[in-house]
């Protein structure tokens, strides 16, 4: 059942807490309120929900919450015939499938520099790199990652956009920053401090850099893998 944007906005605003780091789980997320509180919220927003979408029911509410709970792992996949570094913006994510069947999930951090989303390691390919099928992917230091079989661009979905409207207000009014490493570095500091809690300063930093929840969450959770 398709919710409209106003309804999604209402649910995210009521049910999600701001960007939080959980040091036990080693995870950054926009966590949901507690289960009992969510039940209260449903009772409270039911009339408003029905006014937006008359056929919206509790099951639909739960289904949407389940999606919100796994937002960091969600994306829309678009096949690419090949794309060069100069055609990518900082914050864009790629899934490189290699002929060895290995995958490299990368996010562009600045021109020529990428973050491996699985390991949290930085990779430098240089600004002339082109990611395409049948091409050998080699770092600037000469490390060969293998032969690329296919390239997919991983894009945010509508739930990310709603989350951005609630928590990353007007980030899109700014141009995307030339480097996103400050977000990664700040995440490392929070992880090293081993303190759980809200991360409003990262939200502010992302807004200043013109990026929303999709690249932010991916960079933050890559940082949790760094050094492991």
């Amino acid at each position: 059942m398709e919710e409209n944007n106003s309804l999604r906005y209402l649910i995210v605003k009521e049910c999600c807490r701001s960007l939080t780091y959980d040091s036990l789980e080693r995870q950054f997320s926009f966590p949901l309120q507690s289960a009992s509180f969510l039940s209260q919220i449903w009772e409270r927003i039911k009339p408003q929900a029905f006014s937006h979408t008359p056929s919206f029911r509790r099951d639909d509410f739960v289904s949407f919450l389940t999606r919100l709970d796994s937002l960091d792992a969600q994306y829309t996949r678009t096949k690419s015939d090949g794309i060069g570094d100069s055609q990518l913006l900082p914050g864009e994510s790629l899934d490189l499938t290699m002929t060895s069947s290995k995958h490299f999930l990368l996010i562009k951090m600045e021109d020529g520099q990428y973050l491996n989303l699985d390991t949290g390691q930085g990779l430098t390919f240089g600004s002339l790199v082109v990611f395409q099928g049948n091409a050998s992917i080699t770092t600037a230091e000469g490390n060969q990652l293998g032969i690329c079989k296919s390239v997919d661009i991983l894009c945010p979905n509508e739930d990310h956009i709603i989350l951005d409207r609630v928590f990353f207000k007007n980030y899109h009014r700014r141009s995307i920053g030339s480097s996103l490493w400050p977000v990664f570095n700040h995440a490392l500091k929070i992880i090293e401090s081993r303190r759980s809690g809200f991360c409003d300063e990262i939200l502010d930093l992302s807004i200043d850099l013109g990026i929303g929840s999709f690249p932010t969450l991916r960079i933050l959770n890559a940082a949790t893998s760094y050094g492991l």
């Binding site: 678009t78 055609q87 864009e92 899109h172 009014r173 700014r174 141009s175």
Partner: protein, 239 residues
Amino acid sequence: MDYNKLIRMIGFQDIRNILDERKKRDDNLFFLPMNAVAVAEELMVVKRKCYFGLQHTDKKVLLPTVFDEIRILFANLVSLRVKDSWALYDCSQNKLISDFEYIKIERNGIFVELSCYNSKGWYDPILNRYLARTGYDQINLLEQQTEYLWVKKGKFFDFIHRETGRLVSPPGVIMAYDTSTGMFGLNEHNHVCYYTETGSSSPDKLRDKIIKAGGHMTLQNLTFRIEHVIDVYGNILNK
């Protein structure tokens, strides 16, 4: 003035017959004065008995007093009515731009708007050609600094290249934006696309434009009071 030439241009026999009758009567009323009823752009609408004609302000007769109504739209363009039908006439070229096929012809902004029963067309008096002859409900009248004009029919939009008049009809465009160059439109899947001259969407060209704009782009449609901020994938970020 070659009135006979004008008559020959009219495709509707009944209207030709009416004007022929009136012309014969008008010729016999040569002794009655013509009174000026409207003056604009060096043109003068005159009336004799109950019919209207057109003169230059120096009294040179351009059209005899045989029409039910004449309206001066632009310096050289007038609309002519016979019974319930309107036609567009260019005085400088001494020719009918359209036949008597419209129910209304009026000035709308910098264009002439020609209305049929269920659609409209527009004529550009500066470029002296049709922008769209018929088949649309609405045109971009508010923003004139765009490479392409959008036109709307029902739910969907097309684009007209201002300079050449070439029509581009991408499928399924439910909103068009006023942009200085290029054609940006919202498709039925709620994604903004950049369209090429063949009418197909080009994600690569959209990507180029958005990267040049710094990663996000603001698109407007002044007529519908729409402002959308989009990302490199064509997602609307502020809706």
